[in-house]
């Protein structure tokens, strides 16, 4: 195993943790307007993610910066090539963050209504965009002769040689990601909240299992057609643990939901999400960004920085991430095991109310 592949695994690990953690607060956001209808119920949803959502998003920043550090060429070519969707994603992330945080500072029905909408719509669009982004990476992009690219938002909506950000394949990945993340969020709310919110979240989770299975099956077939690298990877025996984990995750969600154990179902869903990120990263290996034309594409080895830089970074990166994991565990252990719906405006108001 080369140093570059070690760093592919490490960056992939951060992104997988990101998806499993931020996934549930994004999913809770998507469901927010539907599972929580009264002000007290909406407060319950926000309270269940309030202490952790920001830390969850830091995993994305840490993952992005790790790619910058280890694969400067991938970071530079990727972020500039996906310029437009990256900018729009940044605006959506900002709007969604305000949706969560602004309600602390003022209490007025219209204020709440506006920010509840920003939180929910922002969560939906951020999830869809990130799913589409993953679809773009798996499908590959149209490189120019310098090995760079610039993706328009769309071209002719076919998955041909000249592709844009949006086409049937990337949209399918985006919709699948949205379904899975919504399911993940529903399980979090079923596990961590009480009352009507909990009941509605659990019903939502049950209804989402079948669409999740269908979407995953479609994505698997479509990916095999769109990206031969993944199709070939699927035939390698070393790849087999990943689809096994995906199936186990799906099975776990189904079984534990039937046994009314949302906690275990949530962990199964986290495993499912991790297995999918890992499948994408491993499926396109040794590329980190495939091209549409055969032989095109950015290899991990080409994108990696110098061996000295890679090995010097290992020395601080591994302890650093362990410390970060320690903070994460500390914060999650401090969470209430269940946020109940309370009629009065309790703590989650302004600071020190």
């Amino acid at each position: 195993m080369t140093l570059a592949s070690v760093w592919v695994a490490l960056a992939g690990l951060l992104l997988a943790v990101y998806v499993a953690l931020d996934g549930f607060d994004l999913g809770a956001g998507i469901l927010h307007l539907f599972v929580a209808r009264t002000p007290a119920e909406r407060k319950t949803v926000l309270k269940s993610i309030g202490p952790v959502w920001d830390g969850n998003e830091v995993w994305l920043l840490a993952g992005g910066a790790t790619i910058f550090l280890a694969f400067p060429r991938l970071y530079a070519i990727g972020v500039s090539g996906f310029y437009l969707p990256v900018m729009i994603l940044l605006w959506l992330l900002a709007a969604r963050a305000l949706g969560i945080e602004m309600k602390h500072y003022l209490h007025h029905p219209l204020w709440d209504e506006a920010w509840d909408f920003a939180f929910s719509a922002g969560s939906l669009l951020v999830t869809l965009f990130l799913g589409v982004a993953l679809g773009n990476v798996i499908r590959g992009v149209t490189f120019d002769e310098d090995g760079r690219f610039f993706s328009p938002l769309w071209t002719d909506f076919t998955v041909g040689a000249k592709v844009g950000i949006l086409d049937p394949y990337t949209l399918l990945v985006g919709v699948t990601a949205t379904i899975l993340v919504t399911l993940h969020g529903a399980l979090w709310l079923a596990h961590r909240t009480g009352g009507e919110v909990r009941d509605r979240a659990e019903r939502a989770a049950r209804r989402l299992v079948a669409p999740a299975v269908v979407a995953l099956a479609l994505v698997t077939v479509a990916t095999a057609f769109v990206q031969p690298l993944v199709r070939d990877a699927m035939c390698r025996p070393t790849f087999a643990p990943l689809p096994a984990m995906t199936l186990a995750g799906l099975g776990g969600v189904y079984v534990f939901l039937r046994r009314q154990d949302p906690r275990r179902a949530f962990f199964a869903s986290a495993g499912l999400l991790v297995s999918l990120v890992a499948s994408a990263v491993a499926g396109i290996h040794p590329y980190v960004l495939p091209g549409r034309a055969p032989g095109q594409g950015l290899l991990a080895e080409q994108a990696a920085t110098s061996p000295y830089g890679l090995s010097a970074a290992l020395v601080w990166w591994i302890p650093g991430v362990l410390i970060a994991a320690g903070y994460t565990v500390f914060v999650y252990r401090g969470l209430p095991s269940r946020v109940e719906v309370t009629a009065e405006a309790e703590p989650e108001g302004a600071p020190h109310d």
Partner: protein, 453 residues
């Protein structure tokens, strides 16, 4: 922190992609830094209030801590939402720079995420909402953790910027890519140490003046008078200390670094056109880069030589000695940015020490003009800090990495002007909306005031 301010857009063709990338970076980073500029310093003052409340049993300090935590919370939110885009702007607008230097500066940007952001995000919620649950001692620890996190974050950003100002610990490959050669040399860049203290003290100065300004506002309007006095005392003492230290030794050491490693920048920001033994320090004047003179100058004789080399007759090289291609591309803006910073810095020393003197004599709270001055001082540290960063970034031009990579060679080549303008206008619109929200919320918090418990 790569771009060079609004002047670059005016100076170049307006639709030049590099100029637009510079404008977008300059706009988004300048706007972003209005928030951490307050929170890094205010974090320290909140720790001071929390310490007094917890270990000195001062009930007023507890009210002060709660009040300033609310202001901190709003600023922190806007700092986060305007900060996340910065990490992606490197790749989006400066792809060739990111590709060439990512193996070096990616180290510190990843360290910032891993060592600072996790710490801040884990303890911020506890600081803002966890007082009841944690009890005073653990809550004090949360305040310390958030402050330490934000200062660690500053260190990594300053190291990144210091590499662009004064690259160390690297090697330039034949293909132009820049490779890390010594991580320890890179992390202990001698340029970064004075720059870090200068930046942090500038932030403490902003926070001190904000705290005393709000205190003066309450006192003058006869509201929350006991809290107001506490705010003024704390703010004035902290401002007096910070206003001196930010200039000496921190700013002074930075100027000496500039004189040694960026003599062209140094000459440009001082408005010093011709090499002289015993050069004077220009306080006022407008640089004319065509005729190579400073119009309407007010000069302290020999002072520049003495301040730089501690010798009255030392030689200071002037701009005329250097090739124009190596001059910063906007000398007048650089000159004014620097002089605005230094001029305001001098006034901060006068205002804070004057107020401190009145405070010691017990006369500050009877002398309304001084309180008016403290109240109206609020915007000026923001202007001074911004002007300071403009000086650093315009002064580095025409280089992106000083002596190694020109700014025009670092910009993204694959994104068209129209697409950059699209994102620039988007950021401007969004941030205009943020400003309205921010002022609305802060105005409400100040209107409610600290609880008089």
């Amino acid at each position: 922190m790569c771009a060079g301010g609004f002047g670059s857009l005016i100076a170049s063709r307006p639709m030049d992609p590099t100029a637009l990338h510079r404008l977008q970076f300059a706009f988004t980073i300048t706007y972003h830094y209005l928030f951490p500029q307050l929170t890094m310093g205010l974090g320290l003052l909140i720790v001071v209030f929390a310490y007094r409340a917890t270990f000195r049993g001062d009930p007023l300090a507890r009210g002060a801590m709660r009040f300033w935590s609310r202001v901190f919370g709003v600023n922190f939110v806007f700092g986060v939402v305007t900060g996340i885009p910065m990490e992606f702007q490197f790749g989006a607008g400066w792809a060739r720079f990111s590709e060439a230097t990512g193996g070096v500066i990616g180290q510190t940007l990843a360290m910032e995420g891993i060592f600072a952001f996790f710490l801040e995000s884990s303890f911020l919620y506890l600081l803002l909402f966890g007082e009841k649950k944690l009890g005073p001692r653990a809550h004090f620890a949360a305040a310390v953790a958030v402050m330490v996190g934000s200062w660690i974050s500053a260190w990594f950003i300053i190291v990144t910027n210091a590499f662009m100002q004064h690259p160390v610990g690297h090697r330039v490959n034949p293909d132009g890519s820049i490779q890390l050669e010594s991580l320890s040399a890179y992390l202990t860049n001698p340029w970064a140490i004075p720059q870090f203290f200068h930046t942090i003290l500038g932030s403490v100065l902003t926070a001190s003046f904000v705290v005393s300004s709000v205190g003066a506002f309450y006192f003058l309007s006869g509201k929350h008078v006991e809290h107001a006095k506490g705010f003024i005392r704390t703010g004035v003492v902290a401002a007096a200390v910070a206003s001196v230290l930010v200039a000496f030794p921190a700013g002074d050491a930075q100027a000496k670094n500039l004189a040694e490693h960026q003599p062209i920048t140094f000459a440009a920001m001082e408005g010093h056109f011709h090499t002289e033994d015993g050069a004077g320090l220009s306080i006022i004047g407008q640089p004319d880069t065509e005729r190579m003179v400073l119009d309407n100058p007010v000069v302290i004789p020999k002072a520049l030589s003495f301040m730089t080399y501690q010798r009255w007759g030392a030689r200071i090289r002037g701009l005329s000695e250097f090739d124009r291609a190596d001059w910063p591309d906007n000398v007048p803006l650089l000159y004014f940015a620097y002089h605005v910073m230094v001029g305001l810095g001098t006034m901060f020393i006068a205002l804070s020490w004057g107020s401190l003197l009145l405070l010691r004599k017990g006369r500050l709270f009877r002398f309304r003009p001084a309180l008016w001055a403290l109240m109206l001082a609020l915007p000026f540290p923001y202007i001074a800090n911004t002007a300071g960063w403009l000086t650093a970034e315009l002064g580095r031009q025409p280089w992106l990495v000083y002596g190694v990579m020109r700014t025009r060679d670092g910009a993204t080549s694959t994104v068209s002007s129209g697409n950059i303008l699209f994102s620039l206008l988007g950021f401007m619109g969004l941030y205009a909306l943020f400003s309205l929200l921010f002022f609305f919320l802060v105005q409400r918090i100040i209107g409610e005031g600290p609880s008089d418990a």
